[in-house]
Amino acid sequence: MQEELTRAIDVIHLRFGEQALARVDTLPAVESWPTGVEAIDRLTGIQGLPKGRIAVLQGRATCGKSSLGLALLAQATRDFAQAIAIDPGQSFDPWALLEFEPELSALTVVRPPGAEATGEAATALARAGVGFLLLSLPGRIAAAAEPWLPVLAAAAERSEAVVLAVVEESPRALAHASSLSFSCERTGWRFERGELIGVQARVTCVKNKVGMPGASTELEINYPLGAALQPEQVLAEVKQWNQEERESAVV
């Protein structure tokens, strides 16, 4: 029995190469990139985001995922020669980055005109060996990402690029292609002297191929100082939350 198994393994190695079938303990360990946010590094189990894999940060609007993504992007601009934000929704504002002290000379923003071009850009840049790739995907683009996600995953694996996708809701294809998924959920707003200064968010590792999933942490995400610009949705959410708080206090 053992001989037959060994022979079968030999045949597989001969036909498809040594990489086609390998013992787990012989596989190379996944390298990580420390994000600079200790809580996030702790959640991954490998002290950082995995290199050569797709990581996903998902959550509803106003949960703080974009701010967290920007914090990681700022860290990447300091750590890598080139960090690229792919922004098909054209919503990226570098001003929000300034709070995190980025190295702007290392930052390039790519604004592809459509879903297909987004995939083309992400794949080409991952293949070229960019250090960090932030994919800010609106829902319609994320939903149409299935054809190019496997190509992107393979390209990132070859070049060891760190790919972080920020989405509101992770479609199945993206959930499948990712090695690491964080779910971000807002647990409250942060006020100071009556002013909104940020959100409290719970970040949970819902999928982890490189470590143990399920861990979660609480984050306090502050908006940049002088943030006189808030999307209407934030304002509406804050208003609703204030109302709920008042009602619960009355009860």
Binding site: D79, F80, A81, Q82, I84, G89, Q90, S91, D93, P94, W95, L98, L104, S105, L107, T108, V109, V110, R111, P112, P113, A117, E120, A121, A124, L125, R127, A128, G129, V130, G131, S159, A161, G194, E195, L196, P224, L225, G226, A227, A228, L229, Q230, P231, E232, L235, V238, K239
Partner: protein, 419 residues
């Protein structure tokens, strides 16, 4: 010529016509067209008396067991180009002939020994045969030294004259009638030729007579004709029957890009211009960053093909690189954190700009970060463009909160702290 200084290395392999069939090494092989003259013959065939220039039928009579091949001068020429390209980065002065002689000038080369060793390895890789190497003050004596070296070995000649003296006059590159005339004059060795004056032999043989004397004296009158890398290259494929499937075209395009990338890598070159022809239709593009890898070339070609709608089934595809220059790559992984791939990333961004316009890849530069108007806070520069900022287009107007008193009053968090 500075005497006593070996500076030219000659690598002697088989004729490049014979090198097309390395599987026949060790067997008598004759390259000659039907009823034409013999172009070249393997040493095994020459043992039977086959000589270059004799009639093919005569060669067949002398060596009936030999394998007779039709000449393929194009393939031999390509191999010659390949050999020159392979040797070009060892020395800037390189010459190769299809008869299997290749020279490099080591004058000024810092690591000459290493260059000779590398020359041997590359010639063996290109022809499949172990070269014989000769190092001498000039091309003539270097070739004769190489002819006397064992395969894979180097014969070094410091002083050409004493080395050449005992050699027979058959080693001189002369016509048969000229050799006969020398024989009639009683000149049997190069030492004999060296003893007479150049003008005397010139009067007998014309200008070659003077050169012959100078060669025999070890004065090395010949100069290498430096090979210059072509400034253009291309690869093409003919389809029979014509192809209309896009996947098939992409497959062939990738293979062509792979061939071109291998050639570029060998020459250390990159393509500044790329042109694709499908029958009579063509597309071309100038790139700022030289393309050199398969991924870079196919990134552009593949993107074109995916959106191309040929009017009819395609009979031929040609990928041309009309403008080449030094690839100018930095050593990969020289610095940590992916700096080594910065050039590739820039090239990928440029390709995206080629396809979707310059505004697809932007770099922000702080302008008035404290401004309440978002569009004033940053200037956006297209990657690789001049200093002129471009206006950015936003998908939706962003509300500025100080223009909306209702919201600021209701929620009470305005005015904010100044940035």
């Amino acid at each position: 010529m500075e005497p006593g200084r070996a500076r030219v290395c000659c690598g002697l392999t088989v004729h490049y016509e014979l090198a097309q069939r390395p599987d026949l090494y060790g067997r008598p092989v004759v390259v000659a067209a039907w009823r034409e003259h013999v172009v070249c013959a393997s040493p095994e065939a020459e043992n039977f008396g086959v000589r270059v220039g004799m009639r093919q039928r005569q060669a067949q009579q002398l060596c009936p067991d030999a394998v007779f091949l039709d000449p393929d001068p194009d393939a031999a020429g390509r191999l010659r180009e390949l050999v020159c390209a392979a040797l070009y980065d060892l020395s800037p002065v390189v010459e190769a002939r299809v008869d299997g002689c290749a020279w490099i000038d080591l004058d000024g080369v810092v690591q000459a020994t290493e260059a000779v060793r590398e020359m041997r390895r590359r010639l063996r890789q290109a022809t499949g045969a172990e070269p014989r190497l000769g190092l001498a003050p000039g091309p003539f004596s270097a070739r004769l030294a190489a002819a006397r070296a064992r395969p894979g070995r180097l014969l070094r000649v410091a002083d050409a004259a004493p080395f050449l003296a005992p050699l027979p006059i058959a080693e001189l590159d002369l016509e048969s009638w000229q050799l006969e005339q020398l024989d009639l004059l009683g000149l049997r060795t190069l030492a004999d030729v060296a003893r007479i004056g150049p003008r005397q032999l010139e009067s007998q043989l014309g200008k070659p007579g003077r050169l012959t004397v100078e060669r025999a004296r070890g004065q090395e009158p010949d100069r290498l004709t430096p090979w210059t890398p072509p400034v253009t290259t291309s690869a093409h494929r003919q389809f029979d029957p014509p192809v209309e499937e896009r996947e098939a075209l992409l497959f062939v395009a990738r293979a062509l890009c792979n061939d071109l990338a291998q050639e570029l890598a060998l020459r250390g070159a990159g393509a500044k211009q790329l042109r694709v022809r499908l029958d009579t239709e063509e597309r071309e593009s100038l790139v700022r960053h030289p393309l050199s890898s398969t991924a870079e070339l196919f990134g552009l070609v593949g993107a074109w093909l995916r959106e191309w709608q040929p009017a009819a089934p395609v009979e031929a595809m040609r990928v041309e690189l009309p403008l080449l220059e030094a690839a100018g790559r930095r050593q990969l992984r020289l610095w940590a954190r992916g700096d080594g791939s910065a050039d590739e990333v820039t090239a990928a961004l440029e390709r995206l700009q080629e396809r979707h316009g310059a505004e697809v890849a932007l770099q922000p530069e702080p302008a008035l970060p404290a401004s309440p108007v978002p569009s004033q806070r940053f200037h956006w520069h297209a990657l690789g463009a001049s200093d002129a900022p471009i206006s950015t287009r936003r998908s939706r107007p962003v509300p500025v909160i100080d223009e909306n008193p209702r919201l600021s009053r209701d929620l009470g968090f305005f005015p904010h702290r100044a940035p």
